[in-house]
Each structure stands twice: as C-alpha cells, then as structure tokens.
Amino acid sequence: MKIPALFTAIFLVCILVSACYYDSEEELQQNGNIQCDTINVTFSLAVKPIMQENCYACHSNTNFTLGGNIKLENYSDVILRLDKIKGAINHSPGFVAMPDGAPKLEACKIKIIEKWIESGSPDN
C-alpha cells in the first residue's frame, strides 16, 4: 500500500513541477504584442513620444551638442536620418548603438518607429 501510494504522490509532484514557468511580467510585456499598436502610427502621437523619452536628453534642439550635433526634435531633422535611426536603435553592425549608455529600446517601440519609416515617414 505504502509504496504504490508513494509513487503516485511522486508522480503528481512531477506533473506539477513540469508545469514550472520562469516568466516575469517585464519579459511578457516586452514579448507580447498586446500593447504594441502599429496600425495607426503617427509621427506626433507615436514616434515623437518615444524619442522624447529616449533621445532628447542629447538630441533636442537645445542640448544637441551632447549628441554629436544631431537634432531629432523637428520632423525636418528626423527625416534626414531615417536609416541611421533605424540602424542605431536596432544596434545593427556599423551603427552607433542608441540610446547611448542605456539598454536597447523595448521591441514594441522599435517596431513602431520602423512601421512609421516603412509607411513613408509621413508628417502626421
């Protein structure tokens, strides 16, 4: 009686342990597409807020000297450097990885910027 019951119990424990996940909310948020709305991407409402949060510490109209004299605040300045922005935020070879001294942007933010560039980078 004791031995079969013990094996049953060990079996049950094994089933439970096999249901172990190693997830974090942070990771799920980065991987999940739930919050990543790339359908209606506009410069003013989608792209610029990301840049404001991650780029303007060195690339605004006032402190661009910190960022190698590159301004990214006005639409007219941004469209001059689309390829460089795309390469920098993706940490692609041959580009300076951006944001400087910070982790790579979240996957969703990169996707939003790429989507805007792909759709012809409109001033909207």
């Binding site: 004791k2 119990a9 049950l12 172990c20 996940y21 974090s24 909310e25 942070e26 799920l28 739930i34």
Partner: protein
Amino acid sequence: MLIMESRRIFSFVFLAFSLPLQIWSQDMDKMLEEATGSSTEYVSATFKSTRIINGHSIERMPEGQLDFRISHRFGELNTGAYNLWGLDQANTHFSFDYGLTDWLMVGLGRGNYEKTYDGTLKFSVFRQSKGEKVMPFSISLFTSAAYNTLKWDKEIPLKEWHRMSYVAQILVARKFSERFSLEINPTYVHRNLVATEQDPNDIWSMGGGLRFKITTRFAFNAEYYYIMSGRHDYQGLTTYNPLSFGVDIETGGHVFAIMLTNSLAMIEKGFIGETTGNWQDGGIHLGFNISRVFTLK
C-alpha cells in the same frame, strides 16, 4: 439529606466524565500494544501541531483525523494608534489538513493574502525512534502548490499557470528531551511569474524552528527562515527574512497559538521571499492560530 443528594450528583458527574476517559485509555493501551509488537519506541509530539508558527512542523495528522485551523495576522504594530497598532487590519487563512494514512497528510487552504488557494502534501519518511530500531531524527517531505486568484487587470496576457507557485521542503526534526525540540527545513520555492527580470523565480531558503515546553499546556516556539536568493525585493518593497516567536496554549481539544512575526502571509510562498516587515522598524504582526482536531474515522 441535602448532602446525600449532592454526593449522588457529584458521583454521577464524575462517572459521566471518567467513563469516556476509561474507554479512551483502553484504546490507547490497545494501540500501544500494537505499536510495541516490536520493542521500537517512536517519539511523539515533537511539536504541538502541524505548524511551528508560519511554517510546517514535522507533525502530521494521524489516519482519519482532520485538523481545522484558522490563522490570523493583524497589521503592522508600527501603523500607530489610528490603526490600533495593526488590530484594525485583518489577514486570515484557514485550512483543513487530513491524515489519509499515518504517514501521509493532505491539506487544502485559502488565505486572503493575494486571495490564494493552496494544496499541501506531507509525507513522513522516518520517525525518530529508540529501542530495536534507532533513528535519531524524524524526516518528512512537504510539498505545496498555491494558486493566486487576484483579478488581473494588466494588459499582459496571463496564462493560468502563471498564477501557480510551488514549495518543496525537507523537514528534519529531533526531540532532544521532553521539553526541547528542534527542526531544520531546507526549502525551495518556485514562482511561475515574478514582476521583473531581476526577481528570482526560484528561491532557496533554510528554515529553522524550535519548541520549548514550559508546562504541559504551555510551550514557547521560535522560527526563522534564512533566504539565500540575492534580491530582497517584492513589488518595490524591501523584503526581510521571516522571524517569528510564539507560544502554544493547549486548552483541551484546541491548540491556541499566539505569535509575533514580521510576515503577513501564512503560506510558504508568501512568507518566504515576500516578507516586507522589519523587526527593527516595528514591522511586526500580532497573530494567532487556532486548531481543532476532528476524528472522522
């Protein structure tokens, strides 16, 4: 005449109370005879109940007996007079632990800490004994699974499994004398979902507990869990190792335990790795456990 009458009543009351005692003692004799077929003498009552304070003790329910337990932890003492030093806040957990056999206990519980349901299994592997078979320690294995039922209002997709957490423990105890028992509990806690990438899904911990019996009805308990995982953070709050002191008071059929502890939760998943009270700042909770055993078989 009056004296005769009162003597008769007294005798009747005495008989009424002593009869069940005699039956009970006959049962005990029979059990003892069965148990001592070999001359091995097993140690009993290493701890008073199935819990030391928050964590499990080596004890489990004998076959056919159900332990109904209600536990309560008030708020932190340092919340001041406005909250009556924590008494305005209440955190409860109740559980049913049943002895399927003399060596296997199953349990179900529910606590309002993260609205969690928990299921437990406790196996007795070795029992401390002397005589023909000598065993210096009692060893039990404890495992539990907890399911959090809090409403999920975040936008991240949540799988049901993310609500689960598991605990595995090896309980090693020794009753050194009639008065003093000690227990060591190596513990593993796994949480399927944590908040950030820096938070560990696995927590390793080493627990210890002791009981010092002062009188037959009164015992002092202490319990401490040392948490080995590096990060001491739970939802932005610093976490501490759970430390608890308490007394067991046996009141005929009930075991009443009163304690001071820095953890709010009453299940392993909660008090290991999520204890945010700090003894030095008065982050201490007053609490009690009440246990009542029912014989079902």
